[in-house]
Symmetry: C2
Subunit: 348 residues, 2 copies
Amino acid sequence: MAERPTLVSLARDLGVSRQTISNALNAPQRVNAVTLERVLKGIEESGYRPHVAGRQLRTRSSHNLAMRLYPSTDGINGSVLDRFLHALTEAAQRRSYRLTLFTAADDAGEIDAIDDLLGTADIDGFVLTSTHHDDARTAWLLEHDVPFVAFGRPWSSAPHEAAHSWVDVDGGAGTAEAAALLLAKGHRHVGFLGWPGGSGVGDDRRDGWRRTLAAAGLDDVAARLHAEVEDSVPQGARGARELFERGATALVCASDSLALGAVTAWRELEPHAVAGPPVIGFDDTPVVSALGLSSVRQPIEQVAQHVVDLLLRQLPNRPDPDRTARHELIPASLVEREPDPHLFEPTD
Amino acid sequence: MAERPTLVSLARDLGVSRQTISNALNAPQRVNAVTLERVLKGIEESGYRPHVAGRQLRTRSSHNLAMRLYPSTDGINGSVLDRFLHALTEAAQRRSYRLTLFTAADDAGEIDAIDDLLGTADIDGFVLTSTHHDDARTAWLLEHDVPFVAFGRPWSSAPHEAAHSWVDVDGGAGTAEAAALLLAKGHRHVGFLGWPGGSGVGDDRRDGWRRTLAAAGLDDVAARLHAEVEDSVPQGARGARELFERGATALVCASDSLALGAVTAWRELEPHAVAGPPVIGFDDTPVVSALGLSSVRQPIEQVAQHVVDLLLRQLPNRPDPDRTARHELIPASLVEREPDPHLFEPTD
């Protein structure tokens, strides 16, 4: 325990309840004048720092932000949202804000939950994740003038979508860098293993790879060597097998799940290869890190910091609230690794 | 969006603010009588279901629980706490409770944060994780009569520790089962790769392995074939190398990080082995699942459900609050897998 007095020790020393101390700071009209004077004097003499309590008094803010928690996934691709949750909780706490979680089955359920929270809980603002084409959530929040920031840019050109603040990672820059690394290693037939078209995030990652190939005069490769599969290890293996059969010698993948599948496909075809698998994943998850695969990493701590900054500046308790929509697009970076020889290299 | 009216649509239709509707439900004395009657009539006619709002009125509860969020780890061993966070948020929401997160540097910081939250936020109860020997947090919470439940049993015999509710997983039963599987596969020299002695969780996992060996008349193996290292992949490789050199042919590990290290050590020594690595991990994390390793799995969803049950029954807003300390010890289960041949099997 720290040496400074706590709310509890102070209540004991002053012979009053915690609620009385809290009221003295936050709702002084509820405390009788004699007690109020004694308690405020006691607070001052004790050196007790009421932290958030004092700030709440000045600003009439709950100091609570809220975010929907998505269900656990296979632990590979979902892990980036868990990293974000940790980073966001920490970034919020540095500004004396807490994070409240809720779950929802879909976007409509998320809107219902936000509506409920606005009526029943003290929430200053909301954080959205996993934005997508035609996102009903952003339209609703704007319409109801609710402070929020999205992790994820708007993926459609509806006019309202430029009207809110967002922070996102430039995934296409990451896959462009990944493709460039494979070209620099001597590959020319660098394929792309991604998701079915139409998802903003997936299309962006594919476009980055394509830009690098086009700049290298390899438009024909880019036109031919891409495959689209659902996001799972077995589907990744299937898609990679097809691309290797069509002549790909290296692959940039839209996710680490796909990359893991691609590695198993590559080992089937090249059991005696000396080098590690020419496969680059996306999200630098613990699985690929443990295996020593290269992957594109999102700077999630930086994203969380910006999200909190852009959300707090909107809040009515600021001295000069600023509701201007602001957008931050942060570069992804390639993490290059050598595979662990005992997991991937041939043994003979 | 669902068809039922929302707080926002209702406010628009009735021409009042959201706050007025909330007050009508939760603090009717703040609304003038004519408006109150009109709003309550409008609520009834609209079919609006105020969910939590109504319940708060009846029970005077904030419907907020709080838990400390630990920092991200390497993504292997920390992932069990992320699974718990998801399961807890979902279990709480099924009972109309939300979960608020905070961070802290250590136990003293956690106590400070709880103290702060008691003074400044509406929190009905707390969830502790990662209990350990001489846990100052449980003593403090009991002393201050704060409703809480621990995920993790008390690891010391201090009298106050029997006095609070907890839910835990019987990890020793899991490692006992893991050792039995390796014996059933024909191994006799089944070693244990664990952490330095003194951690309740680690000692419990070691004891389970030891019980199985003792029951099989292998006390000499149990006395000889165990190693204690820090919890990381490289340290796991080092410890496993030592155990294999001392004659172990199979290993039960206290964590998946250690198991992953053990696999790399085993591949060095047995590059031409036909079967998969005779190594069993603990926590069934995404990494070992992707690699096809066997591991002991904690039934985290069940833990979360029990934690919420045991916490809510204590709350003063219950019809018949029950502060009796209750304890639930839930068995762990072994997940047996065949390794992916292209990640682990020899290629010649």
